[in-house]
């Protein structure tokens, strides 16, 4: 699903964020990207979302070489990727419903269909009934869940998240990570960047560690011992939508 082949990224200020990075993420796989800040996690996610472009090397996302995606094709390219941000990037002058509906409006989905899908997405993150609130009326954890609902509402095959738990306490962080796992269970390829090693170690999920722009460790899912204590379905008391 995502193939990174000897990718380099050098910023205009001369800093080399990625150097000769090679890794691969299978379709339907869930991967944690770990490493210190500045290790290149965010840069990799930005390359995948075409916010930045590789200086050298090949990056293939969902079968498309990003080098072949022209500026005018970037929006269509991004619609196949759901993005979650540390600061969730919600629009504060709009309701939760309008925030979540934005990707569908852009895609030209009909009004009735939008209502159905927005409510389904909010249901999946446990926020059904809060459609008419504005972001500031919600807690940090709830705001992040709205951000996730927006990222998945158009059912993209790829979901990427950059430090989605950066501003959350451990309990809320677990909750958010479990939401990601549930999307992964229904076939979405999920890539989560986080430096919170303690949190990540509780899940039986593949961990790729970056250091100075290269892979410095790759723990496959089988070897990554999860504590197994957290059944995502039970935690939120809601069922996973197929």
């Amino acid at each position: 699903m995502i193939r990174v082949d000897h990718v380099y990224k050098r910023y205009p200020n001369g800093r080399e964020a990625l150097s000769d990075l090679t890794l691969q993420v299978q379709s339907g796989e869930m991967v944690f990207l770990t490493g210190h800040s500045g290790a290149g996690k965010s840069t990799l996610l930005k390359l995948i979302a075409l916010i930045e472009r590789p200086t050298r090397g090949q990056l293939i996302v969902n079968g498309q070489n990003v080098a072949g995606v022209s500026r005018s094709k970037v929006p269509a390219f991004r619609r196949q990727i759901g993005m979650v941000f540390q600061d969730h990037k919600l629009l504060h002058d709009r309701t939760i419903f309008d925030n979540v509906a934005l990707p569908l409006i852009i895609a030209g989905v009909g009004t009735r269909e939008i209502g159905k899908r927005v409510r389904a997405a909010l249901d999946q993150v446990g926020l059904l009934g809060r459609e008419q609130s504005v972001p500031l009326e919600l807690s940090a954890g709830e705001q992040q869940r709205v951000g996730i609902a927006r990222a998945v509402v158009s059912k993209p095959p790829i979901l990427i998240a950059d430090e989605p738990t950066g501003n959350l306490d451990p309990e809320l962080s677990l909750e958010v990570m479990n939401i990601f796992r549930r999307f992964n269970e229904v076939g979405v390829t999920v890539l989560v960047a986080s430096h919170d090693v303690h949190l990540l170690e509780r899940f039986p999920i593949r961990r790729i560690r970056l250091d100075s722009g290269r892979v410095s460790g790759d723990v496959p899912a089988a070897a990554a011992k999860g504590s197994g204590l957290f059944d995502p379905g039970k935690l939120l008391g809601s069922e996973v939508a197929p």
């Binding site: 916010i51 990037k89 629009l91 934005l102 852009i106 989905v109």
Partner: protein
């Protein structure tokens, strides 16, 4: 298709709602655009009214035709009838030499001097009024030429010089109106463009997020284009109101002037065609200004 249309209508209404929330800023922008559009509109009214007024005067300018001496009254009547049948002549008034002399004797105070004359020195006179639509200088000249070639006609008096002068002035004004309109139209575009630029800066976050979730340039630009259209429409309405007020204020003094000149001329306002032109110009310029500005400034905003 329905979804697309719904979306456009929603954006249109949404953009109106946003403008309504920033009342003062919107009102100021619309006022500036209104003034810029009202100036050429007023100049247009000046030209069109001057034309109307001069049209009235041109009709009042009759040709005076003096017949040869001697011509019998019967011959004069026949000539008058002949001229009256022309399609470019509205009316012919015959003043026979005898009547003219009587009138002259009565009004001039030279009665006794005239008594001393053996015969009537005055010719028969025809006052020819050109038909409507045949009052341009060219038509008048042609008519005068034709009348002159009639056998019993001696002299045709026609003074078209001042009509030509007035028309030349109006032509110059019309050209000035075009120039003036073009310059002020450019001004409207700049005002709208600048307002849109500020608007884009204020909504940076929103634009960034929209681009992050896959909004195309056209999608991001759409609300700003509608803003421009609203500004243009509001400005056109404001310009219409301004010209209406200007007209209302001038109506009474102008009516008094034309009364003094014995005319029933009244100022006419913007007709439906001119109103439509004004609205289309406003909307078009607003759209164009916002298109240029948003295309330029939205490119610079990319998510980081």
């Amino acid at each position: 298709m329905t979804a697309w249309l719904t979306r456009h209508v929603q954006t249109l209404i949404g953009s109106l709602g946003r403008l309504a929330r920033h009342k003062l800023a919107t009102a100021l922008t619309i006022l500036v655009i209104g003034v810029a559009l009202a100036l050429p509109a007023c100049l247009y009214l000046l030209v069109s009214n001057a034309q109307l007024a001069s049209g009235g005067w041109t009709r009042a300018v009759d040709l005076t035709v003096f017949l040869k001496q001697p011509t019998s009254p019967e011959e004069a009547r026949r000539t008058a009838d002949r001229i009256g049948q022309r399609h470019d002549v509205a009316q012919v008034q015959l003043i026979l030499a005898s009547e003219a002399l009587k009138e002259f004797r009565r009004d001039s105070g030279f009665g006794e001097a005239i008594e001393a004359l053996n015969e009537n020195p005055l010719p028969h006179t025809l006052v020819v009024r050109p038909a409507e639509g045949y009052t341009s200088p060219e038509h008048l000249d042609a008519l005068a030429e034709d009348l002159k070639s009639l056998p019993s006609v001696d002299v045709v008096q026609l003074d078209t010089e001042w009509v030509q002068r007035l028309n030349a002035i109006l032509d110059a004004l019309r050209r000035g109106l075009l120039l003036f309109g073009a310059v002020l139209g450019l001004g409207v575009m700049v005002v709208v463009g600048n307002t849109i630029r500020l608007d884009i800066q204020n909504r940076r976050d929103e634009i960034e997020v929209t681009k992050l979730v896959g909004g195309s340039d056209a999608f991001v630009r759409r609300p700003f284009l509608y803003n421009g259209v609203w500004y243009g429409l509001g400005g056109a309405a404001m310009a219409w109101i301004i010209t209406f007020v200007v007209l209302a204020v001038l109506q009474e003094p102008i009516a008094r002037i034309s009364l003094l000149y014995g005319s029933e001329f009244k100022l006419s306002g913007l007709d439906s065609k001119a109103t439509l032109t004004l609205i289309l110009a406003g909307v078009g310029l607003g759209w164009l200004g916002s298109y240029v500005s948003s295309t330029r400034h939205l490119r610079a905003i990319e998510p980081r």
